[in-house]
C-alpha cells in the first residue's frame, strides 16, 4: 500500500528515465508492428485469389506462432548482436501471425456474390482486390493488428534482456535492485500501453465495419 502511494512521487522524481523508457518502448513496438504487419499484409495480398498460397501462409503463421519470443531473441543474439536490431526483428516476427490470419480470413469471408458481381461488371483482378475484397476484409485485418499490437507491446518488455531498452529496463532493473516502485512503474506502464493499443485498434475496427 505504501509502495503504491509512493509511486507517483517516484515517477515524478525519475520522469526523465521513465519517459525515455516509454519512448523506446513505443518506438520499438510501432516499428515492429509496422514491419511485421506490413510483411503479413503483403503476404496475405499475394495469397488473395490463390488458395494454395493462402493455405501455405496460414501454415507459416502457425509455425511462427509456436516460436517462444525469448527463444527468438536468444537465437538472434549471435546474428544481430544486442540492442534495437534483434529486438525489432524478433518483435516483427511476433506481429506476423495475427495480422496474416486476420487478413486471410477476412478475404476468405468476403461476400462471394459481391465478388462475382464485381467481376461481371468488368473490374480487373486488382480492382476487385482493392475495391471490394480488401474493404470487406478490413475489420478482420484490424482485429489482427489489434491482437498483434498487444502481443508486441507486452513482448517488447523482453527486449530489455538483449539491450533493446524500453519499459522492460525498469522491470529488470527493479527486480535486480529490489526497487519496487521502479519495477511497478515499468509493469503498470506496459500493461496500460497494451490496453491502450487494444482499445484504440478495437474502436478503429468497429469504425471500418461496413
Amino acid at each position: 500500500m505504501s509502495t503504491l502511494a509512493a509511486l507517483p512521487g517516484w515517477v515524478l522524481d525519475h520522469h526523465a528515465a521513465v519517459l525515455l523508457a516509454l519512448g523506446e518502448h513505443v518506438q520499438l513496438s510501432l516499428a515492429a508492428l509496422l514491419a511485421g504487419g506490413g510483411a503479413a499484409v503483403l503476404l496475405g495480398l499475394l495469397g488473395a485469389g490463390r488458395p494454395r498460397l493462402a493455405e501455405a501462409t496460414i501454415t507459416l503463421a502457425g509455425v511462427l506462432r509456436t516460436l517462444p519470443s525469448l527463444a527468438v531473441l536468444a537465437a538472434l543474439l549471435p546474428l544481430l548482436g544486442v540492442g534495437f536490431a534483434p529486438s525489432f526483428v524478433a518483435l516483427s516476427i511476433l506481429a506476423v501471425p495475427p495480422v496474416l490470419v486476420g487478413l486471410v480470413t477476412g478475404l476468405r469471408l468476403a461476400d462471394p456474390a459481391a465478388l462475382d458481381a464485381a467481376a461481371g461488371m468488368g473490374m480487373t483482378r486488382t480492382q476487385r482486390l482493392f475495391r471490394v475484397s480488401l474493404p470487406l476484409a478490413a475489420p478482420l485485418l484490424l482485429e489482427g493488428f489489434r491482437t498483434a499490437s498487444v502481443q508486441v507491446v507486452s513482448g517488447a518488455a523482453l527486449a530489455s534482456f538483449i539491450g533493446g531498452g524500453g519499459l522492460g529496463d525498469l522491470v529488470t532493473a527493479g527486480v535486480a535492485l529490489l526497487d519496487l516502485p521502479r519495477l511497478l512503474t515499468g509493469a503498470i506502464a506496459i500493461a496500460l500501453l497494451a490496453l491502450l493499443a487494444d482499445l484504440g485498434l478495437g474502436l478503429l475496427a468497429r469504425r471500418v465495419a461496413p
Binding site: A113, D116, A117, A118, G120, M123
Partner: protein, 353 residues
C-alpha cells in the same frame, strides 16, 4: 424489327467441360437472341444454363465454339472491357456492403471514367427507372434495403452504363413470392421500354413464359428447344420438355393468349350469358376487363359457373370459342423475334360492338 438482321447475341456450338468432369457442362449450344428480345434459359439444376450465361460475358471461358455479340467476336475481345458493356444481375444481388446505393450503381460508369456530374445524374435516372425515389434511396446503405429493394438496386446498377445487353441469373430467386410477381411485371415493362436484349436464367416455367420472348430449354448441357413461349407450351419438342413444362402447360399457355382472340362469331344467344352471382371485385357489368387473358376468361367462367362471358371491350367469349382459339393459335414460330401471340392485351375487341 427485321428478322434477317444480325442477332444481338449468337453462340455457335458453344462447349465447356470442367476439369475432371466426365461430361460437358455445356455441349455444343447454338443460340440466337434477336435484338431487343428477352430469352429465358430454363432447365433442371445442373443443366448448364448458368454456365452458358456466364460464358456470354466470359466469366467462364468456353472450350469450343464461338460467341458473337452484335456481330463481333466476343472471344477476341478483352474480357474486362467486354463485361463493362454488358449488364449483369445475379440472384444474391451482390451489392457492395461498404458502399452506399449511389456508389454501387456508379460502379461501371466509374470504371468507364465518366465525369462526376454525369454519373450523379445517371444514378438518379436509373433509380427512378427501377421505381426507387432517388432522394430517399441514393445514400442508403445496402444493409437497410429489403430483398426486393436490393434487387431493384441490382438491376439499376446493371443498367447504369446503359448496356445493350443484360444477363440475369435467377434475379428473383431470393425475393419473396409477392415481391417477385411485382418485380417480374415491372421488369417486363422496363425491358420492353428500353429495348434491351436480355438473357435470363430461371428454373421457374411461369417466370420464363412471362418474361421471355423466347424460351430456351436445356438438359444435360444441350439446348433441347428454343421457341416463343406459346409455341413451346403448345408443342414441346419431346417428352422431357413436356414433363418439364408440367401437365398444366396448356393452362399456362392460355395465360399468354388475349381473351379478344376468342371472341365468338357469331355471338351466342343472349340467354347463355348467365347473370350468375358476381364475386366481389369483379367488373361491375360482369364483363372481363381489357387486357385479360384466356386463362382469366376460363377462371372467370369456372368461378361464375358460366359457359360464356362478355368482354369489357365488346364481344363475348364462350367455352367453345375459347377452345377453338387455343387450338387455332400458331403452334410453332421462329425462335427469333418477338412473337405476336405472346403479347397480351392486343387490340381487336373494340371494333366488334
Amino acid at each position: 424489327m427485321n428478322a434477317a438482321a444480325t442477332p444481338m447475341i449468337e453462340t455457335e456450338r458453344l462447349g465447356k467441360t470442367w476439369p475432371g468432369a466426365t461430361r460437358p457442362a455445356v455441349d455444343g449450344v447454338s443460340l440466337r437472341v434477336a435484338r431487343g428480345t428477352c430469352c429465358a434459359l430454363i432447365g433442371p439444376s445442373g443443366c448448364g444454363k448458368t454456365t452458358l450465361l456466364r460464358m456470354l460475358n466470359r466469366l467462364v471461358e468456353p472450350d469450343t465454339g464461338a460467341i458473337r455479340l452484335d456481330g463481333a467476336d466476343a472471344l477476341r475481345a478483352d474480357p474486362v472491357r467486354l463485361r463493362r458493356g454488358i449488364g449483369y444481375v445475379i440472384q444474391n444481388v451482390g451489392l457492395f456492403p461498404h458502399r452506399d446505393v449511389a456508389a454501387n450503381i456508379a460502379t461501371v460508369p466509374r470504371l468507364l471514367g465518366w465525369k462526376r456530374a454525369r454519373i450523379e445524374a445517371r444514378v438518379d435516372a436509373v433509380l427512378s427507372l427501377v421505381g426507387l425515389d432517388p432522394a430517399e434511396y441514393r445514400h442508403r446503405n445496402p444493409r437497410q434495403l429489403s430483398g426486393g429493394q436490393a434487387q431493384r438496386v441490382g438491376v439499376a446498377r446493371a443498367l447504369a452504363a446503359d448496356p445493350p445487353v443484360l444477363l440475369m441469373d435467377e434475379p428473383f430467386g431470393a425475393v419473396d413470392p409477392l415481391q417477385r410477381a411485382r418485380l417480374q411485371v415491372e421488369l417486363l415493362r422496363l425491358l420492353r421500354e428500353l429495348g434491351k436484349t436480355v438473357v435470363i436464367v430461371t428454373h421457374d416455367v411461369e417466370e420464363a413464359v412471362l418474361l421471355g420472348d423466347s424460351v430456351a430449354v436445356m438438359r444435360d448441357g444441350r439446348l433441347v428447344q428454343h421457341a416463343p413461349p406459346a409455341a413451346l407450351l403448345a408443342a414441346p419438342a419431346d417428352d422431357f420438355v413436356a414433363a418439364f413444362l408440367g401437365a398444366d402447360r396448356l393452362l399456362k399457355r392460355l395465360a399468354l393468349l388475349p381473351a379478344e382472340a376468342a371472341i365468338a362469331d357469331p355471338p351466342p344467344p343472349p340467354d347463355t350469358l348467365s347473370p350468375g352471382t358476381h364475386p366481389p371485385g369483379a367488373h361491375p357489368s360482369g364483363a372481363l376487363p381489357i387486357g385479360a387473358s384466356l386463362r382469366d376468361a376460363l377462371a372467370a367462367m369456372l368461378e361464375r359457373d358460366a359457359r360464356a362471358l362478355p368482354l369489357a371491350g365488346g364481344g363475348v367469349v364462350t367455352l367453345e370459342s375459347l377452345f377453338a382459339a387455343a387450338r387455332a393459335a400458331p403452334a410453332a414460330g421462329p425462335p427469333d423475334g418477338r412473337p405476336a401471340s405472346a403479347t397480351p392485351g392486343m387490340a381487336g375487341g373494340a371494333a366488334l360492338d
